[in-house]
């Protein structure tokens, strides 16, 4: 198999091709889609999902699912928001470590329930999805944190930066992606996450501390949700107890699944997930241009998840078939 062919057969190439085809198709109808300005818009739609998707990718690779990331995003954003509002001396940057810490703690909570009681992650996080969302209301007394209370320096992160005018938030998102790549491919515990998802039965027999690795993965998912939370405040300028983070989990799962991570664990790449996020970003950006109302976004995400599952399945079958033919 030539190098070119082996690259092309990879999932990531397929997504890249889909992105290009999609953009060309939209560009044919609305040429303004293919401008740098549009690229900026697309990229701006993605940083929160990108960050969340990195965490979710690790969770899915470990053979779990985390449905509570949207609610964790909400709580961490709200905690920082409340602090900004009521604590006069709070520096503008303090929200970042605080939100990350809050998220990590909530994620750890998920992890503890899952490991201590041996419960399926999907149901636990379905429960914490509500529980944490409720917490958001309680902390904020059901009131929104309005624009004037969010520090302008924080908001500036999403507007610009000295580097070609690209907002810091995009660098942060890609930075998280790079860190995730290093974690997943070049640290021992990162590889253990993949091993755990690939064969959970064998993992303890080979010296992997399953409980600790699982806790770590959920804590990371929470921490990244927390980061996404404070960046939500940065991007949108307010924090609302019912909206902030609502529906986040579905967009993130859609991106991760499109990106080629397998629900059965053990398989997933950062590059694929990034491309998945970008594809969703292109779709989201194209909708208003094509005159499709924003209310259809949810439907499209749902359809996208299903289509990704279908593609995933046929690719896997093909992959096995071609492996067999190659005499492997």
């Amino acid at each position: 198999m030539t190098l070119l062919r082996s690259i092309l057969l990879r999932r990531e190439a397929g997504i890249a091709v889909m992105i290009v085809l999609f953009c060309l198709a939209v560009g044919a109808v609305k040429p303004q889609f293919l401008t740098f300005d549009q690229l900026r818009i697309i990229l701006l739609l993605t940083p929160l999902i990108m960050i969340g998707a990195m965490g979710q990718m690790l969770v899915i690779v470990a053979r779990h699912v985390d449905l509570s990331i949207g609610s964790m995003l909400g709580v961490s954003a709200m905690v920082s928001g409340m602090l900004y509002r009521y604590v006069e001396v709070m520096p503008w940057w303090a929200g970042i470590p605080i939100s990350i810490a809050v998220g990590a703690t909530l994620g750890l909570g998920n992890g503890l329930l899952i490991t201590l009681f041996r419960l399926p992650a999907i149901i636990v996080t379905l429960g914490t999805l509500s529980l944490y969302r409720g917490l958001t209301f309680i902390i904020s007394n059901a009131k929104q944190i309005d624009r004037q209370y969010i520090p302008s320096e924080l908001k500036a992160l999403s507007q610009t930066s000295p580097i070609m005018g690209i907002p810091w938030i995009i660098f942060i998102a890609f930075g998280v992606a790079i860190l995730t790549y290093v974690f997943a491919m070049h640290t021992r515990v990162g590889r253990q996450v993949f091993a755990l998802g690939s064969n959970p039965v064998a993992a303890p027999l080979r010296g992997i501390k399953v409980t600790q690795v699982t806790l770590l993965v959920f804590a990371i998912s929470g921490a990244l949700s927390g980061l996404a939370g404070i960046l939500y405040a940065s991007r949108w300028g307010f924090v609302n107890p019912s909206n902030t983070g609502s529906g986040f989990e579905f967009q993130v799962i859609a991106a991760v699944v499109i990106g080629g991570a397998s629900i059965n664990g053990g398989v997933g790449t950062v590059l694929g997930t990034v491309l998945g996020v970008l594809l969703l970003g292109c779709v989201a950006a194209a909708l208003p241009l094509l005159g499709i109302p924003g209310t259809s976004q949810a439907a499209i995400y749902g359809a996208v998840i299903l289509i990704a599952l279908l593609i995933d399945r046929s690719v896997r079958r093909q992959g096995i078939v071609s492996l067999k033919r190659a005499g492997a």
Binding site: L126, F250, G302, I305
Partner: protein, 330 residues
């Protein structure tokens, strides 16, 4: 070189767990006890709790979800899960409401709603059973899709239904609101089906060990397919009932309902991994949930706190169910 003279204990009669233990330590008992405690606690909060009519009226608010939860219980026992019924309710209701608002005669509009529910169930069934995809992810995808389609159809508006159609919850049969009667009757029917028919027995067998079920000649694909179709249709019925109760339909009908349905099933002792659970358990759990929710409203608990309580209840329920089942596990 004689073989052992000591008896081989492994082959003697295996002592089974004490009969009374297996009979009493069951999740349904736990649910029942919680229900009794709940009523007691509720009565302390407000004298209304001991008023049967008040309880029945409160139940109507949850009756649609409870009806679907009964079918969901069977789906979970069979080893699958469906998170899309609440979204199904919304989409079916929106299609139904839009149809009749466009002048289509009511029976046809209802037919459209039901057909939509069936189609949604069929999509789930096809992807899970024919394509062998994991039901959890598929139904997350379809729940997003269906809710989104409901949004596309209804936008941000409410679609009204004709006045004569409103108020199914006001119809009383022997003093009991009609939806509650429907729930009880359905529960009775399903309890008989699940507990006394071969169809029900095979659902348990499939959920316990699908490979063994196939080898025994049980048509597991067919049975699971029919369960997904059934829950699709029942969700549509529930959606239309809700339309009658509320008087209008919005895209966010039953938003978050999937949590409550799963909660009813879990609180009722349904084992998330399949093979165990009862209609009785879910039946009791539905009442329990109504008591808890109503109690919180009466106690002026914030909606936010209610969410916390529900989420917490779900987690507690699965922990307890898991513990109980693992003790009787071999």
């Amino acid at each position: 070189m004689t073989p052992l003279d000591t008896p081989r204990p492994a082959e003697t009669i295996a002592p089974s767990q004490q009969r009374w233990q297996t009979l009493l330590i069951r999740p349904e008992i736990m649910t029942f006890l919680l229900l009794v405690i709940g009523i007691f606690a509720g009565s302390l909060l407000s004298p209304f709790f001991l008023d049967v009519n008040y309880i029945l009226k409160s139940f109507t608010l949850y009756s649609e979800l409870a009806i679907v939860a009964l079918i969901l219980t069977m789906v979970i026992i069979a080893g699958e899960i469906d998170l899309s019924p609440a979204a199904n309710m919304a989409l079916s209701a929106c299609l139904f409401a839009w149809a009749q608002a466009s002048g289509i005669p009511m029976p046809v509009a209802i037919g459209i709603g039901l057909a939509a529910g069936l189609a949604m169930g069929a999509l789930n069934a096809w992807m899970v059973i024919s394509l062998q995809l994991p039901s959890i992810i598929v139904t997350i995808g379809t729940l997003t899709l269906y809710r989104g389609l409901a949004q596309v159809i209804a936008g941000d508006k409410s679609i009204r239904v004709p006045d004569w159609f409103i108020g199914v919850d006001k119809i009383m049969l022997a003093g009991v609101p009609l939806p509650v009667v429907m729930f009880v009757v359905l529960a009775l029917v399903l309890a008989v089906v699940l507990g006394g028919t071969i169809f029900g027995r095979q659902i348990y067998q499939i959920g316990t060990n699908e490979v063994a079920a196939r080898h025994a000649g049980i048509r597991s694909a067919r049975i699971k397919f029919s369960l997904f179709l059934l829950i699709g249709v029942v969700a549509a019925i529930a959606g239309i009932l809700t339309a009658s109760r509320l008087g209008s339909v919005r895209y966010d009908l039953a938003l978050g309902g999937e949590l409550q349905m799963v909660l009813m099933a879990m609180l009722g002792g349904t084992y998330i991994f399949g093979g165990r659970g009862t209609i009785l358990g879910t039946f009791l759990a539905a009442w329990l949930l109504v008591i808890v929710s109503t109690g919180m409203i009466v106690a002026n608990v914030l909606p936010a706190v209610q969410l916390v309580v529900l989420g917490g209840l779900l987690i507690v329920a699965i922990i307890a169910t898991n513990l109980i089942y693992s003790r009787t596990q071999r």
